[in-house]
């Protein structure tokens, strides 16, 4: 997203304006509303930090909020511990709760994740009722109220709440700008591709939910202080989770400003409606929230912030349209030296596969495959459709686990390792159907791939720039991946894999859908990479282009190795001809 824009002056301006406005508000009710707006802004930011960036929708943020609220209220009630200590402790508790929830729940994706998250606060709601905490009141402290965060002047609460909002916005901003945010965005767009690009998706998701849970529990604790009474329904209820989601969705997901915009708009609106009509229409607040979400989903699915930004951008773009469309230029491998493989000993075995097998139901997709690939080789794995080629790659980079056999990378077994670990170990891959992070620029796509073996974020940027140059995509670097040509996407995936500094590259039908001249250019790039000592394994079901490119063919049929050898030998092999063309052609050949 707008990684270069400066947000902190705007955040400071917002805080000053809100604080200044608060100073002029005497009415206690309005002061309370202004405080509650800030509570929901932080709740929205907490939800956004996990769900907005990673795309994993949580319906259960009330679990963290409620734990924070009850914790702060109960420790003051029981041990007289001030919320000044209680709220930071609640943050810790929220973080731990995030971890406890995240570890099992992140095994699920999509709908199942959302539903499972819903169950946590509901389960807690009944547990707290059963424990007898139907209504916990925070005791008033007469002698030293300020030491217990109790103030006669409601404006103080607004200022404290503002502090939480600013802190949450800055944290979100830090996350968004860094590797953290980029990885979450990559997960949101294509978790498989992110994992293959070396991103430890589970670790980043856990960090996100820990931070998000801490934020939600913090503000839950503050909510208890503000409301003075905590009930299960008011802190664990579905409306709490829903409200967090709604303010973020309404304002805009995946941005610092969205939840704040949403809270500032919706909370006063619903409070006003509640005050005005609650007597006659008791559920009006919920109805308004419901209508708000429905309207947002139908009209501006990404939220107000993005809708407005898109409109503004379109205006600007229309007024200043320039001819900037440039095609990819052929490889200019000027900066490619950084990807030279360190340990170059010709003939060293990089990849060893022994008796690898995998069945799906009754189908033996990969059947006792053994092969060796040596340093710097270009090996073509060919075979008819359904021969088990992609399954073999999925076994090699850890997407699926084999039933039998072993895979050695530089002599070490990689079985049972997560794809991101295998990528870290030096296996890069591209996909048969390109998996770009569509809403990111080409450059950002490649940066994601660079993180795995880059020390700092700056190193990653430099590596990405070099990888993009090495495949000849320099001119298109700032284009959004969703808008470029198939050739550019193929090159982008190659650059993304290259940026992880692989010792071996697995290319899955990288020529698919490319025309003659494009194939020629891409082969040029691949030869350049092989010259750096990077070992290359290509899957393809047609032989034509491959004959000119590869050093050696391995032919798969029905999951098993049918033949292996130089292009010349393999293309004359009767068994190969039969597999490809049928028995009839054998006599003619």
């Amino acid at each position: 997203m707008s990684r270069t824009g400066r947000h902190w002056p705007w955040i400071a301006a917002f805080a000053l304006a809100y604080g200044a406005l608060a100073l002029f508000v005497d009415n206690q009710y309005y002061q309370l509303i202004m405080t509650v707006v800030l509570v929901w802004a932080v709740m929205g930011l907490a939800w956004n930090l996990l769900s907005g960036y990673s795309g994993l929708i949580s319906f259960g943020h009330a679990a963290f909020f409620g734990l924070g609220a009850y914790f702060v209220a109960l420790i003051q009630l029981t041990w007289g511990i001030s919320p000044w200590y209680g709220i930071p402790l609640a943050a810790l508790l929220g973080g731990v709760a995030g971890l406890v929830v995240g570890v099992p729940t992140f095994r699920l994706r999509g709908h199942y994740f959302a539903l499972a998250m819903l169950a946590y606060p509901l389960a807690l709601l009944y547990v707290f009722e059963w424990l007898g905490y139907q209504e916990v009141a925070v005791p008033m402290v007469r002698d030293a109220p300020a030491a217990y965060m109790q103030f006669d002047d409601g404006r103080v609460y607004i200022l404290i709440g503002l502090g939480f909002v600013v802190a949450s916005m800055l944290i979100t901003r830090l996350v968004e700008r860094s590797r953290f945010g980029m990885c979450l965005l990559a997960i949101k767009q294509d978790e498989t591709a992110a994992e293959a690009a070396g991103i430890d998706t589970l670790a980043w998701k856990l960090r996100a939910i820990v931070l998000s849970g801490a934020m939600a529990a913090t503000i839950g604790g503050f909510y208890a202080v503000v409301q003075l009474v905590v009930t299960p329904l008011s802190v664990f209820g579905v409306l709490v989770s829903a409200q967090a989601l709604i303010v973020a969705m309404f304002g805009g997901v995946g941005t610092v400003w969205g939840p704040v915009i949403g809270a500032v708009t919706l909370v006063p609106l619903s409070a006003w409606l509640d005050a005005e009509f609650a007597e006659r229409l008791p559920g009006i607040q919920g109805v308004i929230y419901g209508v708000a979400i429905v309207a947002v989903v139908m009209l501006a699915p990404e939220g107000l912030f993005w809708k407005v930004r898109d409109i503004v951008r379109r205006r600007r773009a229309a007024s200043a349209r320039t001819e900037s469309a440039t095609a990819a230029t052929p490889a200019a491998a000027t900066r490619a030296d950084g990807f030279r493989v360190a340990d170059v000993r010709a003939g060293r075995t990089v990849l060893t596969v022994n008796g690898l097998s995998k069945s799906f139901g009754g189908l033996r997709a990969v059947d006792a495959v053994s092969l060796e690939v040596r340093q710097g080789e270009i090996v073509g794995i060919i075979g008819p459709n359904g021969a088990g080629k992609t399954t073999l790659f999925n076994l090699l980079n850890g997407f699926i686990a084999p039933d039998a056999g072993e895979v050695l990378l530089d002599g070490q077994s990689i079985l049972g390792k997560a794809p991101n670990r295998i990528c870290r170990g030096g296996v890069g891959r591209t996909f048969q159907i390109v998996k770009p992070f569509r809403r990111m620029s080409i450059a950002d796509n490649v940066v994601i791939g660079a993180y795995v073996n880059a020390g700092s974020d700056d190193d990653a940027r430099a590596l990405a720039t070099a990888a993009i140059a090495a495949v000849g995509l320099g001119d298109a670097a700032e284009s959004i991946a969703g808008s470029v040509s198939n050739e550019q996407l193929r090159l982008m995936e190659l650059a993304r894999a290259l940026a992880s500094r692989p010792s071996i590259l697995l290319l899955d039908e990288i020529f698919a859908g490319l025309a003659g001249a494009e194939v020629e250019r891409l082969m040029q790039v691949i030869r350049g990479l092989a010259a750096l000592g990077i070992t290359i394994v290509i899957i393809e079901h047609t032989m034509q282009a491959m004959v000119q490119l590869v050093d050696r063919f391995i032919v798969l049929d029905h999951g098993a190795v049918l033949a292996a050898g130089s292009p010349g030998a393999v293309t004359r092999d009767p068994a190969v001809i039969e597999a490809y063309l049928g028995r009839k052609w054998l006599e003619d050949a």
């Binding site: 929708i57 099992p104 699920l108 709908h111 509901l122 547990v127 989601l245 008791p282 109805v287 139908m298």
Partner: protein, 319 residues
């Protein structure tokens, strides 16, 4: 407690579990039609069930006086009548809202697109629950009939020790639920709309090529789904008091049942719902009453975490 009392207690909870479980099973079948055919998570399913409860309540109120044996028959007539009524509501909601973000056009959207319907149905759920509060009021109501407080007494068994009380209203409601499930399963298996629904579920794109109006099939599936769940609600209404916010608890019950039963299988969904009913009631053997729902939530979490493909059906896709 004596051993005999333990056994009595267990048998009592077992029957209660089977009777509620049958109704849960019916509700799960409704949800499974939507979930299985459209791959849409309908968050508002519980609120449609709530609508079923209130519709049944009002229909019962207006017909009971005019019928022979009104008190005895009317609750079940009302519950069945709720089906078509909520079916129509479902068609309208699907046409106006849900179809805009799902279906054949929705499935073409990028990954983020499929969250739209999740959040849309959350919005619908909030509108229905809180709108319900405005229209129906917050005081819990129920359909009270002589049947719902009259038990059949079984026993004494084992000498003089064990007496079983089986609620007549619940028993008839459970039988009606099973009947509706069987009738619906027959409809799905043998009728033209049923075949279209199954085709649309299996492969929407291929179904379009075969000339099936998939958007229409989805709309009908949505109507059937909410209608059937609403009948379940109507049947529950004669034994359980309810208020407009009742839906959310049952959403988890239903999803637990459907996931337990395995995606896309009506039989699995029914058995899943039955199991959830048993878990809920039998948990009273170990847990205090307030924690019965917590037992369901924990059970649900365990199912999705350990066995997302379900116990009874074919594999459910996680993504």
């Amino acid at each position: 407690m004596s051993p005999a009392q333990h056994i009595e207690n267990f048998l009592q909870l077992l029957t209660a579990g089977l009777l509620t479980g049958a109704i849960y099973g019916l509700m799960c079948v409704g949800l499974s039609v939507i979930f299985g055919v459209m791959r849409v998570i309908n968050f508002a399913q519980g609120e449609f069930m709530m609508l079923g409860m209130y519709f049944a309540y009002y229909i019962f109120g207006s017909i009971a006086g005019y019928m022979v044996f009104g008190d005895l028959v009317a609750p079940f007539v009302a519950a069945l009548a709720v089906g078509p009524a909520v079916f129509l509501v479902g068609l309208v909601v699907h046409k106006g809202l849900v179809s805009q973000v799902t279906g054949i056009s929705g499935s073409a959207l990028e990954a983020e697109g499929h969250y739209a319907q999740l959040i849309l149905t959350l919005g619908i759920s909030l509108i229905l629950a809180n709108g319900g509060l405005i229209v129906f009021g917050s005081a819990p109501v129920s359909i009270s009939t002589p049947l719902s407080s009259t038990p059949w007494v079984v026993g004494p068994l084992y000498g003089e020790d064990i007496l079983l009380f089986i609620n007549q209203g619940q028993t008839i409601a459970a039988l009606v639920a099973v009947g509706v499930v069987v009738a619906f399963a027959a409809l799905m298996a043998n009728s033209r709309p049923g075949r279209a629904l199954r085709a649309a579920a299996d492969n929407p794109v291929a179904a379009v090529y075969m000339g099936i109006d998939v958007d229409r099939a989805y709309r009908i599936a949505f109507g059937f789904g909410v209608g059937i769940t609403a009948i379940g609600g109507g049947l529950l209404a004669s034994t359980n008091p309810f208020q407009p916010y009742v839906g959310i608890d049952y959403v988890i019950v239903m999803y637990a049942g459907v996931v337990l039963g395995g995606l896309g299988s009506l039989r699995g969904a029914f058995l899943g719902g039955l199991t959830i009913g048993l878990v809920q009631q039998l948990s009273a053997l170990f847990l205090p009453n307030q924690l019965q729902n917590t037992a369901i939530f924990v059970c649900f979490l365990l199912i999705v975490l350990l066995r997302p493909q379900g116990l009874f059906g074919r594999a459910a896709r996680r993504a």
